[in-house]
Each structure stands twice: as structure tokens, then as C-alpha cells.
């Protein structure tokens, strides 16, 4: 597989702590304290209640593939929704795996992949998933 350049996420004050954790190799999820449900992507209001009573909590980093596709572009890559053990299905990539081995239901674990911004500088790493 050829190496494609992954675009650095644009970070704002409301998502800074998520990306700070990513730099330490930790995947975080939003948690709605009112309902006890996890959510993704993180935000300052619960998508279940709209209450600001939310916090960022660590995820186990394990999940299963809910759906996937292989983008057949010059440098192909595999997009997927991974259903995390905590519940949310997050849009990500499947990496470190031959495309033909990817299956719905496959168990995966998070790996962080480096990114670069438009000037070529290193950005925060992004959570992708490899076979567990």
C-alpha cells in the first residue's frame, strides 16, 4: 500500500482536549451525564438532551466494523464505520490490513495515524482502526 497523506484536523478550543489526548494515543468519547450515553464526535452539548452536562471520557479503543468501503482512487484507502464497545459508530479508516480481508463484523482496535497540514507540518494524529 502506498502511503497517502492524511490531512491534519483543524482544531478549535472546543475540541482541543480530544486532540491533546489523541497525541497521547488515547481515544476519547463524549459522555452525556444526564443519560449515561456516549457520543461522537465530541461537543459541548449533549446530542441527546442539549444539556451542557457533558464530559470527555476515555474509550476502550475496541470495536467492530459496521460497514466499510474501499475508495479506488490513485492511493486507495478503506473507509468504515466502526461500532465502538461503548456504542457510538464512528467514521474512520481501516488500516494495517489487506483490503480483501476487511469484513463487516471484524473486531478492530484503535491506532493513531500521523497527519500533515497544508504546509507539511505534523498535525494531531487521527484515530483509525486495525484488526484486533
Amino acid at each position: 500500500m502506498s502511503e497517502r497523506i492524511i490531512a491534519a484536523p483543524v482544531i478549535d478550543p472546543s475540541t482541543q482536549s480530544f486532540w491533546d489526548a489523541a497525541r497521547e494515543g488515547r481515544l476519547m468519547l463524549g459522555l452525556c451525564r444526564d443519560t449515561g450515553r456516549h457520543f461522537f464526535y465530541p461537543r459541548g452539548a449533549s446530542p441527546f438532551t442539549l444539556s451542557p452536562n457533558v464530559e470527555l471520557v476515555p474509550a476502550s479503543g475496541f470495536g467492530t466494523i459496521y460497514s466499510y468501503t474501499v475508495m479506488r482512487v490513485a492511493e486507495p484507502y478503506a473507509c468504515a464505520y466502526v461500532e465502538l464497545a461503548e456504542g457510538p459508530r464512528i467514521f474512520t479508516n481501516i488500516v494495517d490490513c489487506a483490503f480483501e480481508d476487511i469484513r463487516i463484523g471484524m473486531k478492530v482496535r484503535v491506532v493513531f495515524k500521523p497527519t500533515r497540514d497544508a504546509e507539511g507540518a505534523a498535525g494531531a494524529p487521527v484515530p483509525m482502526f486495525a484488526p484486533a
Partner: protein, 390 residues
């Protein structure tokens, strides 16, 4: 208040161009506006309502009303739910007319992604730092084709839908497009040709994707008394519905679309059922879009879409539900990467009895048009319109 019978579509025009390198987007808006007014037998001076969406340059109505010389507007609306916007605009125009805020509304769409060389389906997009989902999805290589492919893959997994099933949708569209002199792809294709075309985003092949075209379209919506005073067949708005479907915190179910909600609302307002519909314009950015929407609109049960579209069931004169008789986005035209406008226009042609004779549904009295805008597998808008010939 029900919108049933409160407004009529009195003018419809589809730009014949499919490639317009020498025209501006604003100019295309003007050309389709003029065409729709001519079709209705009206003039610019009659227009007191104007509707446009994100394809319109500038701040939408501000730039466009000025450019078009719409100097008598008492109502404007720039609702943007992607390619489904224009179906919602018809409903919003009907509501505005019912409330007395305007009498004759113009809706325009135009764009030139083909001349601009856009890789609409597979190209990477830049992050907009104010859009909250962008930093979590754009670095992952989110694309239009990929988003729809994720839905197709899951549908196949849960229901056993096959690539051959999806191919039948393209085959039906191509059977219709051969009669449309303006269609980009006029040559009928076979199931084998579709499934053997290059893979774009598994399991979607190149021929599962719509065309990329320049062009546009416009509609005129008017008060029923005005519609009856004009010389054209009267097409009445009977039912309308809208919805937005997102991930809502990371819980997407990729097997259904917002059509489940917008369709139910439109059928309830219209007081009819899917079995009553004689012709359907179904948004066809990809073959999977059609299949999922047909299920969600109630033309068949969830998971039965593959069986429903097989063996030419969508081909006019052959199957039970003639769809996209202009060739649709899959073969005819997808101006500005937004197919909702042309969905309404072909439904109006069918209800007027003005579709191509080879694809005209005999005595077509009740038609449905449905659109999906945005990304089916991420977040999208849906709008459904049921229309009848008076």
C-alpha cells in the same frame, strides 16, 4: 394547515445544456428562470416570491434577485438541504402562497461542475473549520461516493442485496435516456456492463454513479386561481414532507434514509398510498440511493428493494413503477450536483402528458418526486412531493 391543493406548479424548464464553459452560474439561473416563465405564460413582472439554494452565487436571493431584476419580491427563501432543496422549495412556496405572502414563486437551480472539472464523487474536500463534523471526517477521506457506498455495503450485508440488483436501476434509467436527445448517456446498458464497469467505491461501480453535468432548471409555483387562468395543464401540490437525518451523536443506521419520514408526511398530507402513484421521480445520485428511498417511501418493504427493482420493474411500459423517465441523474443530467430540480420537472412533464411518447405513462394523474441532499451515510436532507393533475 394542510398544503393539499393550496398551490400549483405552472411552469417548469430544464436547461438543455450539459456543458456550459462559456456561461456564468448566474447567467444559467437567468436562462432557466426565463424558460420557466415562458413555459407558464408569465413574465418576470409577475414574480413576487423567489427561492434558491446553495448553488446560487452570493447570498442567494440578494445576489440573484438583483441580477434577475426581481424587483417586486414580497417573499424569499434560501433553504439549503443540498440536492433536495428544490422539492422543499415547492412546499415552502405552497405554504407562503397559502399564507398570502406571495402569489407567483420562482425557484431556480444552476451550476457548472463539469466545466469546472469537479471530481464530485471521489475528490477530497477542504475542511471548513466552522463545520463541527469536518475535522473528524475529512481527514478520514470522506467523499460523496464513499458515503453512499457505506450504505450499499451495509444493505447488502443485512438484506442480501446484490450488485446485479443495483445495476437494474441503471439499466432502467438508460432505457429511458435513449429517448432523451439531451441526455449525457443515451446508450442503453446491460446489467453485465454495470457490474463490469470499474469499481469506484466498493460495492459501487462507475455505472452505479450519476453523471457530472452543467445546466439547471426552474419551476414556477402559483396560487390555484392563477394556475387555472393560464393555458397549461394544472399540476397541483397534493402532499409534501421534509426531514433531516444525521448521526445524532454517533448512532447512524445506514439501512434507511430520511425518506422514511418525509415520505410518510407527504403521503399523509396527500391522503394517498404508494400503490396510487403512477410515476415516481426518485433521486438517483447513485443506484443505492434509489433502492433505499424506494423502500423508505413504502413502494416495497425494507430489505425488499433489490427484488423490487429487478427485471425492469422501473422501466416505463414494462414494470410496475416507471421512474426517472428522462434518464435521471444516472444518465440524463445532474446540474450543480443537485438533482432535486430535475426530479420535479420530469414529474410535471408526466402529469401534463408531455414526457417523451416512448416513456409517457398513460393517463398519469398522480406522481411523486423525492430528493436526498448531502451525504446518505453521514447526514442528509430529504424532501418528498406528491403532485396531481387536475
Amino acid at each position: 394547515m394542510s398544503l393539499r391543493g393550496r398551490a400549483c406548479i405552472v411552469g417548469a424548464f430544464e436547461h438543455p445544456t450539459r456543458k456550459a464553459p462559456d456561461k456564468s452560474v448566474a447567467q444559467l439561473h437567468a436562462e432557466v428562470a426565463f424558460g420557466a416563465l415562458q413555459d407558464a405564460g408569465l413574465t418576470k413582472a409577475d414574480v413576487d416570491g423567489y427561492f434558491c439554494a446553495g448553488d446560487a452565487p452570493g447570498m442567494g436571493p440578494l445576489a440573484m434577485a438583483d441580477y434577475l431584476g426581481l424587483d417586486r419580491l414580497s417573499h424569499v427563501d434560501s433553504t439549503d438541504i443540498g440536492g433536495s432543496s428544490y422539492l422543499a422549495h415547492v412546499a415552502h412556496a405552497a405554504a407562503a402562497i397559502a399564507l398570502g405572502r406571495c402569489n407567483i414563486a420562482l425557484i431556480t437551480l444552476a451550476g457548472r461542475p463539469r466545466s469546472e472539472g469537479q471530481a464530485t464523487g471521489t475528490g477530497a474536500r477542504a475542511q471548513n473549520p466552522t463545520v463541527p463534523d469536518d475535522p473528524f471526517e475529512i481527514p478520514m477521506g470522506r467523499t460523496v461516493a464513499g458515503s453512499y457506498a457505506l450504505c450499499a455495503m451495509r444493505h447488502m450485508h443485512e438484506f442480501g442485496t446484490t450488485s446485479e440488483d443495483l445495476a437494474w436501476i441503471k439499466v432502467a434509467a438508460s432505457q429511458h435516456a435513449q429517448h432523451n436527445p439531451h441526455a449525457m448517456l443515451k446508450k442503453p446498458v446491460t446489467v453485465e456492463e454495470v457490474v463490469n464497469s470499474p469499481m469506484v467505491a466498493d460495492p459501487l461501480h462507475r455505472l452505479d454513479c450519476c453523471v457530472i453535468s452543467d445546466g439547471g432548471g426552474a419551476l414556477i409555483v402559483a396560487r390555484p386561481e392563477i394556475a387555472r387562468s393560464l393555458k397549461r395543464p394544472v399540476v397541483t401540490v397534493r402532499g409534501t414532507g421534509e426531514s433531516i437525518k444525521g448521526q445524532f451523536g454517533g448512532y447512524p443506521d445506514l439501512t434507511f434514509s430520511g425518506a422514511r419520514f418525509s415520505g410518510a408526511r407527504a403521503f399523509a398530507e396527500a391522503g394517498v398510498t404508494p400503490a396510487d402513484i403512477r410515476y415516481a421521480s426518485i433521486y438517483d445520485s447513485f443506484t443505492i440511493t434509489v433502492l433505499i428511498q424506494l423502500e423508505d417511501l413504502g413502494f416495497c418493504a425494507k430489505g425488499e428493494g433489490g427484488r423490487f427493482v429487478r427485471d425492469g420493474n422501473l422501466i416505463s411500459g414494462v414494470g410496475r413503477l416507471p421512474f426517472n423517465t428522462d434518464g435521471g441523474g444516472l444518465c440524463n443530467n445532474h446540474p450543480a450536483n443537485r438533482g432535486g430540480m430535475t426530479k420535479v420537472i420530469e414529474a410535471v412533464r408526466q402529469l401534463r402528458g408531455e414526457a417523451h411518447p416512448a416513456v409517457q405513462v398513460p393517463d398519469c394523474g398522480l406522481a411523486l418526486a423525492h430528493g436526498t441532499g448531502g451525504l446518505l451515510g453521514h447526514r442528509h436532507g430529504s424532501a418528498t412531493l406528491i403532485m396531481e393533475r387536475e
